[in-house]
């Protein structure tokens, strides 16, 4: 079995692991670290369910190998979640019914976190563009968009 040693910081916690070279990042997070909030929907980089932040940028965890995050910072949905309660984005999703089955939601939250970090007042079109790398079969995106705009508004007011 071909393996690599990696050091990676996930949600602020440092991990030193020996991983199989072919292990992808999504499986590493889920099965090696037990961070099952990151979901796998297609394993070919289309559905976006597995999206996480690597060095602050959104990536498909199914298209990246665990070995490639050696020395890097990774944030998954668990890392977006405060110790008590929900983040403003998560709260807006709850208030606006931005999720149904919840399977695509973690990846969507990651991409919108990235968007809202760089664009504090996105337009609806910009939100939809940011969501275009995600497939959701439940919501028709309507309330995801509404939740993202609501979160942006709350974050602006909060500041």
């Amino acid at each position: 079995m071909d393996t690599r040693d990696i050091n990676v910081t996930v949600n602020g916690v440092a991990h030193a692991r020996k991983v199989e070279s072919r292990l992808n990042l999504a499986d590493f997070l889920r099965h090696e670290l037990g961070l099952t909030g990151t979901h796998v929907g297609c394993e070919h980089g289309v559905c976006g369910a597995c999206t996480v932040l690597v060095e602050g940028y959104s990536v498909r965890a199914c298209l990246m190998l665990a070995a490639q995050v050696d020395g890097k910072q990774v944030v998954s949905v668990e890392g977006l979640t405060p110790a008590n309660g929900l983040s403003p984005l998560q709260q807006a999703f709850w208030d606006k019914h931005g999720l149904q089955c919840g399977y695509c939601t973690p990846g969507v939250l990651i991409s919108l976190t990235e968007l809202l970090q760089t664009n504090v007042s996105p337009s609806e079109a910009e939100v939809r563009e940011a969501l275009s790398g995600h497939l959701c079969r439940c919501t028709g995106y309507h309330n995801i968009v509404a939740a993202a705009l609501e979160a942006a508004e709350r974050l602006r007011v909060g500041k």
């Binding site: 949905v77 929900l86 998560q90 709850w94 149904q100």
Partner: protein, 826 residues
């Protein structure tokens, strides 16, 4: 009047109504925090991983299987073929999901295919290994010697008596043939002012929840089996496991964890679920299988491939006199459940309209493709597509307004409930139970400014833009019975629980049931725990299908909550020495109205728990709990009317949805926010069916759209903001007055969008008769319109010239005839 004001005061003293409120969902905080527990998140020690060997041929005989190389890999625990797995099973072939005498024997799938694979993706062996990686490595090394056999991919070709057989065991490719008919169709057509013929088709697509299927089976040391499955039917899975594993039901528990969407494809017990349990038995270790997307494309059910050759007879004013024709339904290679899809299609074609005479001959044809069972809509979207496209045709031919033609034929509100001369598959009369279809049409057309559209369209055309407006009705039978289980229990600790056989797969059914329960017990929805889809908590259940659970489980929980409420009041009256009529429930306590005297529900529950050797209060049974199996044979018909504006780019064929307005009548709403969400998702599924989703197979039955880059699901950039309106006509057929909503959003969408595209492309005489319609197809139609000099040539056909059968030889001679009356138990 005094009585009325007293009632008003009483209402004011009570907490705000919970049923009907836009309560946030109790499901959400865990899901948002990444703490959901989906099938692949369930951890058990010592689990082994399964991968399936699937047929690359649409039809082939298995000559031999050589698993030696696979078995020799390190980390491989077993390779099971059909022969190897049979010792763990009572038999290899699965029983028919919905047993009926009306279908022949030998039509269901095998747990693992033993001899003759009949579609690409059919599983014939499974590898059990220490990891999924290793299992897939080994699966690739399993050598199968196939003798390729001729395959049939097109269900119309399958009807040819000379066609190769889809399965060699079957006498021909027609699973069954039946006729749905009433009235005097020949007379209606003979006397009609106009008869129009149309051939229409809808293609097959997948359900594609973002979470695929998956199952995990574990036997404990005492031989008890626990199966976790991403399923819409945990009880059926339990019963089938008992049957197929020859295991006592008391030894089996099936748990549906968080389910990442279903949309129909998980409302079936699959071969893989049984194979996983059998493998756990043989290997004496827990075994898990998680479907990947590639497998979903070739082994999870699909639906909607139908070909309709129809005629409509109308009078000079466009009143429908009769409807007749032929439907060919693509069933795929096996029949796991029955023929509910084509039956639904055939009995819902008349939709919201009054149709005096009807005759439809239905052929259920088998093909070498993935089997068909319902995907969101279950035959209704196809039928709505047919009748709504025909209504547009009538309007165009007669030079009448599309809205007017519909108004002339809709069942009017004053005729509700309206019994159609049709029966549902329970054998009960098909009754449109309530609604005001004309009013709904009017409201939506006002909202989208239909009256002002011609001016907008002319303005757009002047600047070279091609916009169109279209609309369509849909009715969907919801709340299908016969029952769903519901138990309400107040524990002595004060926790309130609801147990149900209903299945939560993202719709928010836990919240809806919690609201229904909370309303009666004077608590908030967040005070109620809802356990759904776990067979340890409910002995019976049917699960999630046919937009049924708010109607069926909702009614059971409502009645159970009322019974618990009555019981609490009866006991509290004794504890508080007050009259029952003076008591009411709020804040989880029973109060004497107008006083501060009260007793907690928890205390009532403690009294009813009993004290050893002492008497219970007189006149009540033990336990502050109640169970109901509210029963129904009728369907609650939800109604939708959708209108949309589109813009078609005539250079690229791209269709952009500019506006989408939908009205939904799902009776009384338990939670309007959840209902809106269901409609957004349902409409988007319909948009996929109209414009994007096409499960392609070549003539040999090879699928060629097996990634999400080839099979297109609508994304956020393809769908508009939705404008949702409600009309609430409570169903008279259930105690809550509710109707289902999960599928209603999908039913009229393709018809409405095609109507709008036709309107936009009227200068080229484009008439769309198929779904989906791709940009390339639109360009072909525009080009054809250009060549024919377009415009005009919408000549009416004379009745005597019309032909119904458009393709292939008439297959009557070779077919088994089944009287529709005998199908009522399917």
């Amino acid at each position: 009047m005094a009585h009325m004001s007293a009632t008003t005061e009483q209402a004011a003293a009570r907490p705000p109504r919970i049923v009907g409120s836009r309560a946030r969902r109790i499901e959400d905080p865990a899901l948002l925090a990444g703490r959901g527990r989906f099938i692949d998140d369930v951890r058990v020690d010592g689990v082994l991983h399964a991968a399936f060997v699937r047929s690359p041929h649409a039809h082939a005989r298995i000559r031999s299987i050589d698993a030696a190389a696979a078995r020799a890999l390190p980390g491989i625990r077993a390779v099971y073929t059909a022969r190897d797995i049979l010792p763990a099973l009572s038999r290899l072939r699965m029983p028919l999901g919905f047993p009926t005498q009306a279908l022949p024997e030998g039509i269901t799938p095998f747990v693992l295919c033993p001899e003759e694979v009949c579609y690409v993706g059919e599983a014939l062996a499974m590898v059990i290994a220490d990891s999924r990686h290793l299992a897939e490595d080994a699966a690739a090394l399993v050598g199968v010697d196939y003798e390729a056999l001729p395959a049939i991919a097109d269900c119309r070709d399958a009807l040819d008596p000379a066609a190769p057989r889809v399965r060699l065991e079957a006498p021909d490719n027609v699973l069954t043939r039946f006729t749905i008919a009433y009235g005097d169709a020949p007379g209606a057509f003979a006397g009609a002012a106009h008869v129009f013929s149309e051939s229409l088709s809808t293609h097959r697509g997948g359900a594609h929840p973002i979470e695929g299927r998956g199952a995990l089976a574990q036997f404990d040391s005492a031989g008890a089996l626990t199966v976790w499955s991403s399923t819409q039917m945990s009880h059926d899975l339990k019963f089938m496991l008992a049957d197929m594993l020859d295991l006592a039901e008391d030894l089996i528990r099936v748990i549906a964890p968080d389910v990442g969407g279903g949309f129909g494809c998980k409302f079936m017990v699959y071969p893989e679920e049984l194979a996983v349990a059998a493998a756990a038995r043989l290997s004496a270790r827990p075994v898990k299988w998680i479907e990947d997307r590639a497998e979903h494309f070739v082994s999870a059910i699909q639906e909607r491939e139908q070909y309709w050759d129809m005629q409509i007879a109308v009078d000079a004013e466009g009143h429908i006199l009769g409807l007749r024709g032929r439907l060919v339904h693509d069933q795929g290679a096996y029949t796991p459940q029955g023929i509910n899809c084509p039956y639904n299609s055939a009995t819902s074609t008349t939709g919201p309209y009054k149709v005096p005479a009807y005759a439809l001959e239905v052929f259920v044809a088998q093909t070498n493709k993935v089997p068909a069972i319902p995907v969101r809509g279950a035959g209704y979207p196809e039928a709505a597509f047919v009748i709504e496209r025909l209504m547009d045709r009538v309007a165009r031919e007669l030079g009448l307004d599309r809205a007017l033609v519909r108004l002339r034929n809709l069942v009017p509100a004053e005729e509700m409930p309206y019994e159609k001369p049709l029966r549902n598959r329970a054998g009960a009369p098909l009754i449109l139970d309530s609604g005001d279809y004309p009013a709904c049409q009017r409201k939506v057309l006002e909202a989208i400014d239909y009256a002002g559209f011609p001016a907008r369209q002319a303005e757009a055309r002047r600047s070279g833009r091609h916009v169109g407006l279209g609309f369509a009705h849909g009715v969907k039978g919801t709340g299908r019975g016969p029952f769903e289980s519901g138990t309400v229990r107040v524990s002595p600790s004060g926790r309130i629980s609801v147990y149900t056989g209903a299945l939560a797969m993202g719709q928010g059914i836990r919240t809806a049931l919690a609201q229904i329960c909370a309303e009666q017990l004077g608590v908030r929805e967040g005070d109620v725990d809802v356990i759904a889809g776990d067979t340890a908590y409910a002995s019976l259940g049917l699960g999630g299908f046919a937009s049924r659970q708010t109607v069926t489980a909702g009614s059971s929980v409502h009645l159970a909550a009322l019974a618990v409420r009555d019981k609490a009041i009866k006991v509290a009256a004794q504890l508080l020495e007050a009259a029952e009529a003076d008591l009411d429930l709020r804040d989880a306590r029973v109060f004497v109205e107008g006083t501060d005297r009260s007793v907690a529900l928890a205390d009532v529950a403690r009294v009813l728990r009993g004290v050893p050797g002492y008497a219970l209060p007189p006149g009540v049974e033990a336990g502050l709990e109640a169970s109901f199996h509210w029963k129904t044979e009728a369907l609650a018909f939800a109604h939708s009317f959708h209108a949309c504006e589109v813009e078609v780019d005539v250079e690229t064929g791209n269709v952009k949805l500019l506006r989408y307005v939908a009205i939904q009548d799902s009776g009384r709403l338990i939670n309007p926010m959840i209902v809106e969400g269901q409609l957004h998702g349902g409409i988007t599924h319909g948009i996929g069916n109209a414009l994007f989703e096409y499960m392609g197979y070549d003539r040999e039955g090879q699928p060629y759209t097996t990634t999400l880059a080839d099979y297109l699901l609508p994304a956020a950039t393809e769908v508009p903001r939705f404008e949702i309106l409600f009309h609430e006509s409570p169903s008279p057929f259930n105690p809550l007055g509710v109707k289902g909503v999960g599928e209603g959003g999908t039913v009229p969408v393709a018809a409405a969008i095609m109507s709008a595209i036709d309107d936009a492309l009227a200068p080229w005489g484009v008439r769309i008769t198929e779904a989906p319609v791709s940009p390339v197809r639109l360009l072909e139609l525009i080009e054809a319109g250009r060549r024919s000099g377009c415009a005009a040539s919408l000549n009416q056909e004379s009745a005597s010239k019309t032909t119904v059968i458009s393709r292939g030889a008439a297959p009557e001679l070779a077919l088994r005839a089944v009287d529709v009356v005998q199908l009522t138990d399917s």
